[in-house]
Amino acid sequence: MKHIFQHPPETGTAKAYWRSVEDFSNTEQFQGWLNREFPQGASEFWGDGVSRRNFLRLMGASMALAGLGLSACRRPEAHIVPFSKTPEWQIPGRTLNFATSMPRRRGGVPLLVNSYSGRPIKVEGNPSHSLSLGKSDAFAQSSLLDLYDPDRSHRFVKAGSASNQEEFVKVLGELKQSWASSQGKGLAVLSEDNLSPTEDRLRAELAAKYPSSVWSYYEPALGSHDRAAAEAAYGKGARIKLDVEKASVILSLDSDFLGDEATLSSIRGFVQGRQVENADSPMNRLYVVESRYSSTGGMADHRLRLPASRIIAVAAALAKEIGAKNLPIFPDLPSLDIDPGWINEAAKDLIAAGSSALVVVGVGQPLQVHLAVLAINEALGARGNTFQVTRLERPDSVSLTDLVTKIRADEVTDLLVLGGNPVYNAPADLDWTSLQKSVKSVIRLGYYEDETSELSGWHLPQAHYLETWGDAVLQEGSHGCIQPLILPLHGGLSSIQLLGLLLDVPAGEGKIFVDGPELVKETFMRKAGAFATIFDFENAWNLFVRDGFLKDSAPRVETAAFAVSGTVVPATGREVSPAPLGKDNLEVVFIADSKVDDGRYINNGWLQEVPDVMTKLTWDNAALLSSKTAGELGIYSGVQVQGITADGVYYSDVITITVDGRSLDVPFLVVPGHPDYSITLPLGYGHEKTGRVGQGVGFNAYQLRTSTAPHLVTGATVVKTSAKRHDFAITQEHWSMEGRDIVREAPIAYYKDNPGFVRALGIESHTPENKSFYKTPAFDYVKYHQWGMTVDLTTCVGCNACVLACQAENNIPIVGKDQVKKGREIHWIRIDRYFAGSQRDIEMGKGIIPSDPEVVLQPVMCMHCENAPCETVCPVNATIHNEEGLNVMAYNRCIGTRYCANNCPYKVRRFNWFDYNQRQLDQLYWGPLGPKGVEETVKMSKNPNVTVRMRGVMEKCTFCVQRIETAKIDHKVKTQRTERKIPTDSLQVACQQACPADAIVFGDLSDPESRVNKLKKRQLNYKLLDYLNTQPRLSYLARVRNPNMKMPGAELVGMSLVNSRIHSHGGHHDVHGTSGDKPAEYSTEGRAH
C-alpha cells in the first residue's frame, strides 16, 4: 500500500536547476526525508499496530491536506507527485519549475515554467537546452495568458448547443463502427501542424487502421516553398538548418530571420557576431533586400527596399555574380531600378567571406528564389559551416487543396478538424465555408468557439499546452517533452488524446481519454530505442520529462549532394508579375502578424497591446505602404506620418484593396522605408467570432488570399472608400529623434577613428560640469549591492520578448485600445523606434516621411537615477531610493499626484488612470456602475510576489525587486547569514532573462567581476540625457554598424546622428574630434571581420 515515489534520479552531469531546495537535495538527511511519504509518524504507522484513534487522526489529516490543492492540480499516474498530498519539495511561497515545450509550426520552443502552488505563473526558456539557454520569445512569454484566458472554449458543443463528453463519445463510437466497416472511407482529418512525434505516430496508426482515411495539414502562415526547395535539392524530408553564428556576411532576401521568422538560435547566432567590445572587435555584416521594413531590415548594415515580387531579380543577379550552378529558370522581368553596384559589391563581399557567408530567404518568396538561394549558398561553400542539411521524415499527408478536391467530389463524409480555424483562414478561392457545410459530420477541436466551431456538428474544447501531455520536434530538431503543469482548466483535450480515443488506446480504468503520459511515453520509448546507449528506459523517460527534451536527439547533419534537376521549373503563378508595378498593378504581401501571428493569438490581450516594433501599432492591423504609393493613389497628402485628429488620435481613411475580384476594406498606414507599389497586409485579424478580447479587432486579410498565391500576389488595385475613417492606437507618434543624442550610433570605422565618439555626441560633452552645493550622499558599495543595467543597442532586434516578460512577471494589466489611443499604455518597458535620416533623406528635415531611412531601436525602462527627478517632487515620499541604488515605489504610500511622471525626463512612469485590474476594459468609464472583479482564471495568472496595483497609483519598472529580494533571501539562508552578497551574476531580471539577443544585462555594480560592470567600462557606454545629472543606473551601449565602404551610399550608413549634430547649429561642430562643414568623414576602407 505504501506509495513509492519515483523521483527522477539526480544525474551526475546536469544540475538540477529547478528544485527550489536544490542545495539540500543531495544531503543524506533530505534524501531520507524524501523517501517518506508523510513527514512524521505516518510511515511508521503502517508497520505497527494501529490504534483506532491514530488511524482516524491520520486519515483526517490526509483528507484535509487532500482538499487543499485538488482544484488546481492534475493527479498524474505515477511519476509526478500529486499536489493533493503536498510534494516534499514544495515549499509554500516558492515556485517550482518544470521543463516543457511550446509547440509552434516551425518547431517547439523548450521552456521552463514556474509554478506557484500549482499555478503556472511565468514562462522562461529552458536553460539546459542549447536552443534556448534560458531565453524565450514574445509568443512563449504571452502563452501564459492564453492558458488563463476565460474566453477559451470550456464545453462540448453539439450543433450549437451545449452537450457533454459522454454524448460525444457515444456519437464517436457510432462513427468508429461505420469507419471500421469501410476502412475509414470518408474520414478526413484537417490539422494544424504541431510537429508532434506522438501525433505523427498516432497518425500512422490511424492510417493503418483506416487505410482509406485522409490526413491534411493546414498552416496558413507556414510557407511551403522552403521545404519544397530543400526537398528538390536534397531529397525527401530535407530541412535546412542555419548556423547564423558562423556567418560573417549575411544577405537576407526578404527574410525576417530576426523578427517574425526568427528562431531563438537565429537571433542569438546573429548577435554573437555583433559583440562590439572595442573598435577592433570583429563584426558580421548584414545585407537586407526586403519589402516592408522588418526587424531584420532594422538591423541591416545595408538595406535595399524592393517590392517582394522584384526580389527574384536580385536573386537571379546575385546568383549570376556568384556563379551559382543548378539554378532554376527565372521568369523574364523588367530590369531593376537599383544601383547595380549594390548587388555587385554585396556579391563580392559574400564571395570574399566564402564559407562564412550566408544567404537567407523569406518564406513568402517564390520557389525559384528558394532554389536560387540554395544554389548560391552551395556555390559560396557555406554548406557545412553556416547552413546544414538535416532530415525530418514524416508520414504522408495531403495538401489542403487536395482535401478540398476530395470534399468537392463527395469523398469526405466525416471531417475531423484538429485545431486551426479554416473557416476563418482558409484561402478565399477554396470557399471553405460552403465546403465544410457540405460535409456530413464535422468534429472540431479548438481553443475557442469560433467561426469554424459554428459550422461544425461537434465542437470539443482544446487543452492548452500547459495542461496536457505531448511532445514536439523542437526548433533545431530534437525531441521535446510537453508536460502539464495544471489540470485542464476548462476540461479540454489535446489532439493526441482525441486520436487515442479514435484508435481505442486503453485509457485506464474508468476513463475515456488517456490523460497520462502513456501516449507520449510510447513514442519516446520507440524514439529512445534508436539510441543504442539508452538501456534504462524508465530512467531515460524521467530524464526526458525533467530536462524537457531528449539529449542529442537532433537529427544528424547530412551530406546529400546538391542536385536540382533542370526540370524543376516551378510555375511562378501570381507571385511575380511580368508587368511593371505601378499604382494600377500593386503587389500585396501577406505576412503573419508580429503579434497575433496567423490569428491564433487574437484573444491574447498582452499580444494585442504590445506595439509592433516598426509601426508601433496596437490592437489593429493595417495595410502598410510607402508615402509615394499613397500619394499616387490619392489617399494621402504626404506631410505627416498619418492624420492626427484634434483629439490627438492617429487615423486613416479606409481603402478598398481589390485583387482578382476579391476586395477588402482596410485602413492604411504609411511606413517609412516601405517599397513603392507594394502593400503589406498582416494576417490574423478581423475575426468574426472569438473571445472578447479579439472580437472585431482589425481586418481580415485572409479574404484576399488565395491558395495559388498565399504570400505574395500582384495585380492589386486600391480605391479610397468614401468617408470612412479608422482610428489607430499607436504608442509612438513621433518617428524622428530630431537630431537629439538619444540613440547614439556610428559605423565601426568611425568608432575606430573616434574612440570617444559616444561621449562627444552628447550635450554633456560641452556643458560645464554640474556643481551643487548639496552633497548627495554616496552609495555604500561595500556593504550593499548596487544594481545597474546596460542595454546594448547594437544587438537589440526589437522582438518584444522583454516587454511581455515584464508584463507577465510584474502583473502589468492591459488597458485596451481606447486607453492606448489616449496614451495610457502601462508597459514598464517600451521599445522606442526612431527612423534615422541620412543625407539621402533631405525630406526628413521638412517633416516629410523619409522614403529610405535607417531605423534605431531603444528599449527604455526606469533608469533608476541616483539623482532621480521623480523622487524630489513626490510630496508623500512614495518613491525613494533604497541603499542598493533602486528607485523604489511604495504603492501603499502613493496618492497619485503624477508629479513624478511629469518630472521624469525618460517618461517611464505609468499611472493607473482606472482600476484596470478590477474593471472591464469596455466599461472603465462606468466606474462603480460597471461590474467589478475579474475572472478567477485571470487572477490565477498573477505573480504572487508582485503587488497588483489599484487605480490612482503610479507604477514603473522596479528592476524586478521581487527577484532581487528572493535571491538575497535564498543566499542568506544558504550561507546561514555568513555572506552579505549574492554571487556574481546569479540573478536575472525578467526582461534580461527573456532577451534572446542578450542585449539587456543586469547586475551588481559593487561587484567588479559582474558582467554589467565590465560592460559599463566599454567606450560605447553612455547615459541617456546625461547632462541632466540624473545619474541613471541604466546605461546604453551605443549602436555600431558595419557598412561595407564599397557599397553605394555606405558613407552615410550609421552617420545620421553624427552628421545631424554637426549641422544642427549652423557650422558649430557639436561632435568633438571631427572637422569640416561637410558630413564627417572617416577612413573609408572596408573593415575586415
Binding site: D647, V876, I895, G896, P905, N912, G927, G952
Partner: protein
C-alpha cells in the same frame, strides 16, 4: 491731503489741480452707511434670485464631477502620458492667481496708504477667498487616491513616514492653506465693525442675533478701535509676504522641475505679476456690474476703475516682458531641448499648441495695451470688455506652461497630445458656478464695501474739515 495735485479727469481748474475726491458728489457719512447697508437690507431683488439659482445649478456640477472622479478614476479626464497634469493644475493656478488681487488690495495697498482701495477691498477679498476655494478643489481632487490625501499632512503616521519636504507640491499645500487661512482671518477681522453696523440697524430678532454673533460684541469703543487697527495692521503685514509667496511657491511646482519650459528661474516674479494681473481683471469683471446694479458710482468711482486699469497695463507689460525674456533665454542658453520647447511646442505655426500660445500672447500682452488710451480706461463698457482678455489669457498662460511643456519633452518617442474630456470642461465650468454662487451670497448677506473705511476717506473724516484755520494751511 496730498500737497501734490493732479488731475484725473477734465481740464484743471485754476492754477492748482485738485485731487479728485475718492467719494464723489459730496456724499455724507449717513448716506454711505445707509447705501451700503441697503444692499443687504432692501427687499431681495428678482435678478438676485435668478442669478443665484442659475449659479447654484452650475455649481452642482462640482460635486457631481467630483463624485464621478473619485468613484471612477482620474482617467475620466483627458490627462495621459506624457501630459499627466492638464486642466486640473491649469485651473488650480488660474484660480489661485485670481485669488491674488484681493489680498494685494487689502494688505499691500493698505500698507502703502493707497486710500482708493477702501471701496473695493472687501469685495476683492471675498473674491480671493472664493477663488482659493475653487482653486483648492483641483489639487485636492486631482490625485489618484483622494482618500489618502492626508498623507500630505505632516503627521507621523504608524510607519513614521513624513511628507517629503523637498517636494514643491508639499510647499504648495502649506502655502495655499496658509494663504487661505490668513486671507479668511484678515477678511473677517475687517468685517467686524461693519457687521456691528448691520447688527445695529437690524430690525428682526434673528437677524440681530446672527450679525451680533459675528460682530463679536463690537461697540465701536476707543479701545476696540485701537486694538482693531493694530490687529489689522499686523494681519496686513502678515498677508503681504503671503501675496508674494503663494504664487512664487506655486511657480516652484514648475520651476524646480527638469522639464524644458518649466525649468525656469524667472517663474516666481513672473507668476506673481501674472496673478495680480489676472486678479485685477477679475475684480473689474465683478465690480463693474455690481457698481451698476447697486448704484455704487459715487464710491467706486471712475478713478478706481482707472487705477485698476493702470495696474493691469503695468502687470500685463511685466508679464509680456517675462514671456519675451523666457523666450530669449531659451535661445540664449544654447540648450537645444529648452529652445525646442519654446520654438516647436509653442511659437511656430507648426507647433501643435501654437494657437494657445498666441492666444495667450494676444490676450495678456497685446489686448491690455489698450489701457494706454484714456478713452479705454474711462469707458466702463470698454474696460469690462478689455479685462475679459486677461481673464481668458491668464488661463491660457497656465495651460501653455503646463501642457505644451509636458506634451513634448526630451524623448520624441514619448511625445503625445492632450485633449480635454467633457469632464475636464464640466468641472471647470462648475467652479465658475460655485464662485459666482458664493459671490452672490456675499453680496446679499455681507456689506460688499467697507462702510467704516469709506467713511474714513470722506472729507468730513478729516479732523480739520471746515476748520477755518486749516483753510490757509492748504497752501
Amino acid at each position: 491731503m496730498s500737497e501734490q495735485a493732479s488731475s484725473y479727469f477734465g481740464p484743471a481748474k485754476g492754477n492748482i489741480l485738485e485731487r479728485r475726491p475718492l467719494v464723489s458728489n459730496n456724499r455724507s457719512m449717513g448716506w454711505v452707511t445707509s447705501h451700503i447697508a441697503g444692499m443687504l437690507e432692501s427687499k431681495t431683488p428678482v435678478w438676485w434670485w435668478v442669478a443665484v439659482v442659475l449659479s447654484a445649478v452650475v455649481a452642482t456640477l462640482v460635486p457631481f464631477e467630483l463624485i464621478y472622479l473619485v468613484s471612477t478614476g482620474v482617467g475620466i479626464w483627458g490627462s495621459n502620458q506624457p501630459v499627466s497634469w492638464a486642466w486640473d493644475i491649469t485651473n488650480f493656478v488660474f484660480w489661485i492667481g485670481i485669488g491674488h488681487a484681493g489680498t494685494l488690495i487689502s494688505a499691500i495697498l493698505f500698507l502703502t496708504r493707497q486710500k482708493w482701495r477702501t471701496s473695493i477691498n472687501r469685495a476683492a477679498e471675498a473674491m480671493t477667498i472664493f477663488a482659493v476655494i475653487c482653486a483648492g478643489i483641483f489639487p485636492a481632487f486631482h490625485v489618484g487616491r483622494v482618500w489618502m490625501a492626508w498623507y500630505l499632512a505632516p503627521i507621523p503616521n504608524a510607519n513614521a513616514i513624513w511628507p517629503n519636504f523637498k517636494s514643491p507640491l508639499l510647499w504648495d499645500v502649506f502655502a495655499v492653506s496658509t494663504y487661505f487661512t490668513v486671507s479668511l482671518i484678515f477678511w473677517y477681522i475687517g468685517l467686524v465693525p461693519d457687521l456691528a453696523t448691520i447688527r445695529d440697524r437690524a430690525t428682526g430678532k434673528f437677524r440681530k442675533f446672527v450679525y451680533g454673533l459675528f460682530a463679536l460684541g463690537w461697540r465701536g469703543a476707543n479701545r476696540q478701535w485701537r486694538h482693531y487697527e493694530k490687529a489689522y495692521l499686523i494681519l496686513a503685514g502678515i498677508s503681504t509676504p503671503l501675496v508674494l509667496s503663494v504664487h512664487s511657491i506655486v511657480s516652484f511646482d514648475f520651476a524646480t522641475s527638469v522639464i524644458p519650459g518649466w525649468h525656469t528661474t524667472i517663474f516666481p516674479p513672473y507668476f506673481v505679476a501674472g496673478a495680480i494681473f489676472g486678479g485685477f481683471a477679475m475684480v473689474l469683471t465683478l465690480m463693474i456690474p455690481v457698481r451698476a446694479i447697486f448704484g455704487l458710482h459715487d464710491m467706486i468711482t471712475r478713478k478706481h476703475i482707472d487705477n485698476m486699469a493702470k495696474i493691469i497695463v503695468l502687470t500685463g507689460s511685466i508679464v509680456g516682458y517675462a514671456y519675451l525674456i523666457e523666450l530669449f533665454i531659451a535661445w540664449y542658453s544654447g540648450n537645444p531641448n529648452e529652445w525646442w520647447a519654446f520654438l516647436h511646442n509653442r511659437v511656430l505655426p507648426s507647433a501643435p499648441y501654437a494657437w494657445a500660445y498666441w492666444m495667450m500672447m494676444f490676450c495678456n500682452v497685446i489686448a491690455p495695451q489698450l489701457f494706454w488710451f484714456k478713452w479705454c480706461r474711462t469707458n466702463i463698457i470698454a474696460v469690462w470688455i478689455i479685462v475679459q482678455f486677461p481673464n481668458v489669457g491668464m488661463w491660457f498662460e497656465r495651460f501653455v506652461i503646463i501642457c505644451t511643456s509636458l506634451h513634448r519633452d526630451f524623448l520624441p518617442s514619448s511625445w503625445g497630445m492632450f485633449v480635454p474630456s467633457i469632464n475636464d470642461i464640466l468641472l471647470f465650468v462648475g467652479t465658475f458656478g460655485l464662485f459666482l454662487f458664493l459671490f452672490l451670497l456675499f453680496l446679499r448677506f455681507l456689506p460688499a464695501i467697507t462702510i467704516f473705511e469709506v467713511k474714513a476717506v470722506l472729507p468730513e473724516a478729516d479732523p480739520h474739515y471746515r476748520d477755518p484755520h486749516a483753510e490757509g494751511a492748504k497752501h
